[in-house]
Every structure is written in C-alpha cells, then in structure tokens.
Amino acid sequence: MKYNQDLVVEASGITKIYGSGNTEVVALRNVALNIARGKVAALLGPSGAGKSTLLTALGLIRPPDAGRIVIEGKVVFDGSLLVDARVFRRKHLGFIFQKANLIPFLTAMENVQLAMEINDASPREAKKRAMELLEYLGVGDRANHLPSKLSGGQQQRVAIARALVNRPGLLLADEPTAALDSVRGRQVMELFRNVAHEQNTGVIVVTHDHRALDVFDHAFEMEDGILSTSQALDKEIKNAKS
C-alpha cells in the first residue's frame, strides 16, 4: 500500500475507550486526521473533548483501541502497535507539554543534549546541536542554567529545543502556552510555525487560545471525542492572516 509522502500523519478510525460497562467513556470516536509536512495544525475544543487523548494516541504514549496510524509513511498502528513505541518516539516524534517537564538536575543544554544522546548521538555532536538549537530559540545565554533558574517561557523554549533536537517528523504539543502570558505564548506559537516551515516538520498543537490562530495552517475542532474541520475556524485563520 502506498502512502502520501507529503503527509506526516495519516490517521483513520482512531477509537479510544476508557473503562467498561457503566463506567465506559468513549474518548475518541472514529477520528481521522491528515497533517502534511511543514504544516502547523491546531486542535481546539473544550476540556474533556479528547484532544490530549488524541495526542497521546498519535504519540504512541497510550495507543488507541482501534484504528490505523501512519507516521512519515510507516504504519505504526493498525489495530495494534506495529513498532516499538519507545524507539519510534525517540526517532520520529517530539513532545511539548503545558509544563516544560525538564529534568531538574540537568542544565538547559544537558536537557537538550540528553534527548540526542538517548538517540545514540555522540556527546560532542549532541552538545553542538543542543547549543545551536538553544541559540536559535533565543535561550543560548541560559544554556548552563538549571531549569529552576529559568523563567516559564525560557523553560518552554528549552523543552521545544529538546523536542526538536532529533529532527522529528512530527511535533506534538499539548497546550504548550497555557502557563505563559499572551506575549510569550504568541512567541512560542510563532516558533512552532517557523520550525514547521523551516524544518519541514508537521506540528499538531492542542490549544484553547484563539488569539494566535493566524500562526496555524489548519484548525480542527474536537467535541465528545469527535474531530471535525471547522469552516468557521478556517475563515477565522484566513481573516487573522490577512
């Protein structure tokens, strides 16, 4: 079967159910989603709609119960996991969360460097790339500081650098600006757009924030586990861009 090489994610029939019997909750209902390389997609919706669940399913953190996921042309899930999730995440995926989740006993640079060393890069190579990325993201001067000495925005930038260091095909961000003020939040969103466009990375961002819609190429809306494209949102994006 041939897959569209322009697409970084092709997902179809994604279903995730938590609990059983009376406590059963359908978190994702037959979700289908395609994201092209170099594009940034927003995933909007109220709390509990299933946005984070979809992200963890696509990120093979908590695989779905049914459906099919193709990432960078490789079928990774088809009713069951077809790859070693940990190895696949290491090589193809980057994650950013609301909290930066930096390792507290490592400096900013070491946090980034570690992600690359885990992926078998030499310490020297990892250090060089980590520094480049930190400088690119504007926190090069904070490279040798521990996370506790960084502001929330700086921590999030380091987390982005860590997510990007292995040049992943797909970046998954779960409310990455929720803990930031509007100015820093916007800066982070713009960073995603720049990264996507410059490094040809697909980016999916779960967000509540409609103010930064202009940075996205697509927007999806989720409610009760159902994903839909919204013409109203697309219009909103176009308006914001113009």
Binding site: I61, R62, R86, R89, R90, I103, F105, I118, N119, P123
Partner: protein, 403 residues
C-alpha cells in the same frame, strides 16, 4: 552523560546525609562483626599465647576455662617424668575485682611457674618480665595501670614492672601475670581474723578427739600456721600445661597421662573448642545473629531509601521513557546511585570504625577478609535494595508526564 552523578550533584546535601546514615548503619554491622571476632580471639588468646601442646586438668572436668579445676601441684612433677614431655608448668587463673584510685579494677590473674617461666613469651609493650620471685606484676595496658603502679592485693603490694598489649580474658578483663606462688597467695588470701578463727576451730576439732588431748605438741602445731602442718598439702593449681619434645606425638603423650585416674587431658585444639563451644558460645551466637539482623535491617532501610529516591524521580523517569530512553539508561540511573550510596556508606563506616573501634572497652577485631566480605555484602544489598526502585521505574507509564 551520567545521570546518576548529575542527580547526586544536584541533591548533594541530601545524598551526603543519606550516605552518612547508611554509613552509621554499616558501622554497626562492621562493629558487630568485629566484636564477634574479638570475643572469639579474646577467648582463645591465652591458649594461643601459652601454646601448650596438652592441658592436664582435674579428672572429669573440662578445664579451668569451663569450670573449676583443681590439681595437686605435684602433678607437674609427675607429668615431667612422662617420656616425651619437654616441660610442664602449673597454670593458675582466677579473676579479682578491687578498687584502685577510687575506680573498680578487674583483673584476671594468671600464675606463671617462676623461675621456669619468667614470662618471656608475653607481648610486652613497656617494662620487663619478672626479675624476682615475688611482688612483681606484668599487666595488660587495657587495665589502665601504668609502670611503677603499686597494687595492694591480699596482704602484699605488687609493683607493675611490665605492660602487655591485647591480653584480655574471655570475659574481656585485662590479664595480670604474677609468679605462681604470688597468684596463689592472692587466690587463697584470708583475713587475719579468718585465719585466727580457723586455727581456733582446728584446735577445738583436735581436742574433741583423744589424739589431740593426749598430745599437747600436736595442739601447738594446730594453733600455728597451716604451712607448718605436713598433713596440709600445698595449694592446688588449675591445670598443668605440657609441651612435648619435638618428634613426639602429643596424642601419644596425652594417652599416657590420661591413663592416670586423677586427671583428664586435652589438646590445645580441644581446649579451644571447649571454650568456643562452651563459655563464649551463647555470646558468640547472639552477636552473630544480631549481626545478621542488622544486615537485614540495613537492607530494608537501604531499599526504602532507594525506593523513595526513585519515587521522587518518577516524573523524570516517565519523561525519559517518553523521550525514548532505553531501560538501561533508567536502570543505570538507579543502580549507579545505589552502588554509590553503598560505596560511600561503606567508606564512611570504615573511617568511623578506624577511629572508634580502638576506643571500645573490649576488643573489636576486624581483619581484611571481614572488610572484603562486608564490601561484597554492601554491593549485594545495594543491588538487591535497588530492585524495588528499578521495578517501579520500569513499570512507569510514560503518560505519567501528562499527569
């Protein structure tokens, strides 16, 4: 990148305190082992130092270390007449407690067969051995006595002329060496009143029979010193120590002496076994069991510490897994910390022990093999106690990062 070392550097104070705690615990384990070995060594010390081939003791008894053993002094001469015997010396051992400079002074008195044995074999650290038959004493320095100290024992005063090192009895009391006759004087010393009472009683007993009434000379003798009465033998000794001539089998000599109806004979090893399996056996086993208990407690405490340290990092471990870190990275983080903790704890225990154990009132003997053995135990404890944390870490769901 070594995550274990990075984490330790970041939490240095906490790690240091934990290591000190474990170190103190291991000091106890080390000390218990040392006390155990010290007990065994103290118990067999005299037997080793005296180095007699055979111990001749009262018939039916297990010798002076196990129970009361009394032999007439002439056994020494009888033993000397046995073919193959190089030397035979009386052995006298008893413990006394006196006051000296307002402090209790406990000494285990050993009587040496002066002049045949003038204590040349004693491990002297100061002074000299006996230069005369009476009123000199060689004592272990753990007694607190110094050269020149004059100790009143019984009706005589003894001067400390020599100091030994590491000569304690199985009960941990310092050994004091006197000539045999002095040791017996101390052992059988009676107050003047007791002597007078005994003489009066002796005269009364004599007057109760015809022989006493009809023989006034005998009554005069009975009222005098007991040493002047031929019917009274010399004071008994505890044992006779025998050295066998080179080329003679000690067991053959022992068999000959054993044939006498009034003595029992033990080899050096037999006497040691009697001590270890008898007198110090319960203390030895108690300390041994306590040591095992301490090792178990240390293991449990270390396991809890390492588990808690792992729990503190569970979020970071989940993040590492989410980033795709291999199990060996996570395993290395926990295991290396456990080994470092154990290693540092062991080193702390070693240095505390080096400083503290020589100050203990009783001997704490730790030989290099004990250190090696404990180091292996610590490595095993570290590995085993980190298993709980490792199992927990390997089971962590990377999705924990989201919580």
């Amino acid at each position: 990148m070594n995550l274990a070392v990075k984490d330790i550097k970041h939490n240095l104070g906490r790690f240091a305190l934990t290591s000190i705690g474990i170190g103190l615990l291991l000091t106890l384990v080390m000390g218990m082992g040392g006390i155990y070995r010290g007990l065994v060594e103290e118990a067999t010390l005299l037997i080793d130092r005296v180095n007699a081939d055979l111990w001749v003791v009262q018939k039916g008894t297990r010798g002076p270390f196990a129970e009361l053993s009394r032999l007439p002094r002439n056994v020494e001469d009888r033993v000397l007449s046995v073919p193959g015997v190089l030397s035979a010396n009386s052995f006298i051992s008893h413990t006394i407690q006196r006051e000296f400079h307002g402090k209790p002074l406990r000494l285990t008195i050993q009587g040496l067969s002066w002049p045949a044995d003038n204590g040349q074999w004693l491990p002297l650290v100061a002074g000299r051995t006996f230069g005369q038959a009476h009123y000199e004493m060689v004592v272990d320095k753990s007694s607190g006595l110094a050269l020149g100290d004059r100790i009143p024992l019984g009706k005589n005063i003894y001067t400390v002329v020599g100091l030994t090192k590491l000569m304690s009895s199985s009960s941990g009391d310092a050994m004091a060496f006197l000539t045999r006759s002095d040791a017996q004087s101390v052992q059988f010393d009676l107050s003047g009143e007791a002597i007078r009472n005994e003489r009066t009683a002796r005269v009364n007993r004599l007057q109760a029979v015809d022989m006493g009434n009809s023989n006034p000379q005998l009554a005069d003798r009975a009222a005098g010193s007991s040493t002047g009465i031929p019917a009274f033998g010399a004071p008994m000794v505890s044992a006779v120590l025998v050295k066998v001539l080179p080329g003679y089998n000690p067991m053959t000599v022992a068999a000959k002496i054993s044939a006498w109806p009034d003595v029992s004979v033990y080899s050096k090893k037999g006497q040691q076994q009697l001590l270890l399996l008898g007198m110090v056996d319960k203390s030895r086993r108690q300390i041994g069991l306590f040591r095992v208990l301490l090792i178990i407690v240390s293991s449990v405490i270390m396991a809890l510490i390492l588990y808690t340290l792992t729990l503190d990092k569970i979020h970071d471990i989940a993040m590492l897994k989410l980033m795709g870190a291999r199990n060996r990275v996570i395993l290395g983080l926990i295991l290396q910390q456990a080994l470092l903790l154990g290693g540092l704890g062991f080193s702390i225990a070693y240095f505390i022990g080096q400083w503290m154990f020589p100050r203990f009132p009783r001997r704490v003997v730790i030989v290099p093999d004990d250190y090696v053995q404990l180091a292996i135990i610590v490595v095993l404890i570290s590995v085993l106690s980190s298993l709980l944390g490792i199992v927990k870490a390997l089971r962590v769901d990377p999705g924990e990062v989201l919580s």
